[in-house]
């Protein structure tokens, strides 16, 4: 079997807060194959978001290795790191916070196209319209400011921005958690569709097993900075082994009896 798209081994990170030093991550390892969705699930404070931020090089790890498309991701610096970012994107939980408040939708989508030279300058307006269409938004939205569109529209713009550079992996950090239930279902459907068409892999970080069940192929359950359980999505949800897994499943009452998961 060929090397996975993303291979993470022995990732560790300590933070000091309030004079106390504690381990946010303690030897985390997992891998993601091309076109696959791995869900990283766990209670808040379990270290999920730290994993995301280390993968995106927003936070530096203390120990461990990350290989992405055969490159040692944690060793990259400057221009080489910026180049690889085209293939490794992220969608944040709160799109309002993740967008410069002064930006228009067009500028947000133009930035990645310009920075990575995806298309020529003259082609960029067309590319922006195409990206908007791809996530189910009208091209009229391009001129709007970030605060002038709805939360669901914003998250679609965030996905379009991540898609702009044709990534092979998108990290979705609680990307649907803040959304209204109906909007959430729409966005999850859109994500699944994009995966089918473009073969994008997802690292889907969430504390909500309901959303995870709809999209994940495999699940890794985190608690206290470690991965406590890992396996095929259906198997884990149907019969969790770890205490954290059991608690998470129990906290989502409609899950075990859902036909979709049983069948």
């Amino acid at each position: 079997m060929s090397a996975p798209l993303l291979g993470v081994e022995g990732l560790s990170k300590r933070f000091s807060r309030g004079g106390k030093n504690f381990a946010a991550l303690d030897g985390v390892g997992f891998s993601i194959a091309a076109g696959e969705t791995l869900a990283l699930v766990g209670p808040s404070g379990s270290g999920k978001s730290t994993v995301a931020r280390i993968l995106l090089r927003l936070v530096e790890a203390d120990a461990g290795s990350v290989h992405f498309q055969g490159q040692d991701l944690l060793a990259l610096r400057g221009p080489a790191l910026r180049a690889v970012r085209a293939k490794l994107q992220m969608v944040f939980q709160d799109p309002q916070a993740a967008f410069n408040p002064r930006a228009t939708v067009a500028r947000l989508l133009d930035d990645p196209l310009r920075i990575h030279g995806v298309v020529d300058r003259s082609e960029r307006p067309k590319a922006i319209a195409a990206l908007l269409a791809r996530v189910g938004l009208s091209a009229e939205l391009a001129g709007r400011a970030v605060h002038e569109i709805s939360g669901g529209q914003r998250q679609r713009v965030a996905i379009a921005r991540a898609l702009a550079t044709r990534p092979s992996l998108i990290v979705l950090d609680e990307a649907v958690s803040a959304l209204d239930v109906l909007v959430r279902a729409d966005i999850l459907r859109l994500l699944a569709e994009l995966q089918r068409e473009q073969g994008i892999a997802y690292l889907f970080i969430s504390h909500d097993l309901g959303a995870v069940r709809a999209i994940a192929h495999r699940i890794a359950i985190m608690d206290g900075g470690r991965i406590v359980e890992q396996g095929a999505a259906r198997a884990v949800i149907a019969a969790p082994v770890s205490a954290t897994g059991k608690a998470l499943v129990a906290a989502t009452p409609e899950l075990p009896v859902s036909k979709e998961t049983v069948s």
Partner: protein, 275 residues
């Protein structure tokens, strides 16, 4: 920003009206009073409203009070604006550098800021003018010396908080260059709170200039309102109007700056609120 929103409150209207008058005085001073305002225009200690050629009377040496008021407006406004601009510029640069660089650079710059805030600003201005000698430029530098710390602290706090925001992380994720992040993502969002402070800084600069001139440390070749007030002190019993009139001009000017500034900040706030 629409004018209607700017003139929403009577306070803001009054503020802009006062500022308008002040600007008119500055522009018309050389037209209406082409003579040197420090030259003798008539009999000394003429009371106001006696002679229509000299409507506000004359001082101890027979100099025209109204002419002094008009020319004094130029000094007050020029010094106030220049000192405020210099303080904001220096302050935002130092604050931004401290916030961006962090670590030892931040620590050093902030201790220097602390030191400047520990020494009473007016004493510092006094010392500088006294050591270097009074001139318009020195007065501007002396005032800025004590006024840059506020903008520096605010700019630093803003940069520190913005640096941790998700939209900066998101700009890094799409591969934006750090310099572009600094100038396109962080700086434009860090400036508004600093600029909101500018009316207070202009007002304080005008007041400091007046106090320095009052103590005889203004530019000796220019008419200043503070200098006129000090002049009048010698004849406070017989001709109190000489000190009172320029003081009223000073109060109105500073009040105008405050009110207009509040109007701008408030209208900006309602714009954000409506959005």
């Amino acid at each position: 920003m629409s004018l209607r929103r700017l003139f929403r409150t009577p306070e803001a209207v009054a503020g802009f009206a006062i500022l308008g008058c002040l600007v008119l005085m500055v522009l018309l001073a050389p037209v209406l009073f082409p003579r040197d305002p420090l030259s003798i225009a008539g009999a000394p200690l003429l009371r106001p409203f006696q002679d229509w050629a000299l409507p506000l009377g004359t001082d101890r040496l027979g100099r025209d009070v109204l002419a002094g008021l008009f020319h004094g407006a130029r000094t007050s406004l020029a010094v106030g604006l220049a000192a405020a601009a210099a303080s904001i510029l220096v302050g935002s640069v130092i604050g931004t550098v401290a916030g961006f660089a962090g670590g030892l650079v931040d620590e050093a710059l902030m201790r220097i800021t602390d030191a400047f805030q520990t020494v009473p600003g007016f004493l510092l201005s006094l010392a500088l003018v006294s050591v270097v000698g009074p001139s318009l430029g020195v007065v501007v530098v002396a005032i800025s010396l004590s006024a840059w710390t506020g903008p520096a602290r605010i700019a630093r706090a803003e940069v520190l908080s913005i640096r941790e925001r998700d939209y900066v992380a998101s700009a890094r994720v799409i591969g934006m260059h750090p310099i572009e992040i600094a100038f396109r993502e962080i700086l434009p969002n860090a400036l508004p709170p600093v600029l909101a402070l500018s009316s207070v800084i202009v007002a304080a600069a005008i007041l400091t200039e007046a106090a320095l001139s009052f103590l005889g440390l203004g530019d000796p070749n220019r008419v200043t309102w503070g200098g006129m007030i000090a002049e009048g002190r010698a004849v406070l019993r017989s001709a109190p109007f000489l000190s009172i009139i320029p003081g009223i001009a000073l109060v109105l000017a500073v009040l105008g700056v405050y009110l207009a500034g509040e109007g701008i900040v408030e209208s900006a706030a309602t714009r954000r609120g409506n959005a």
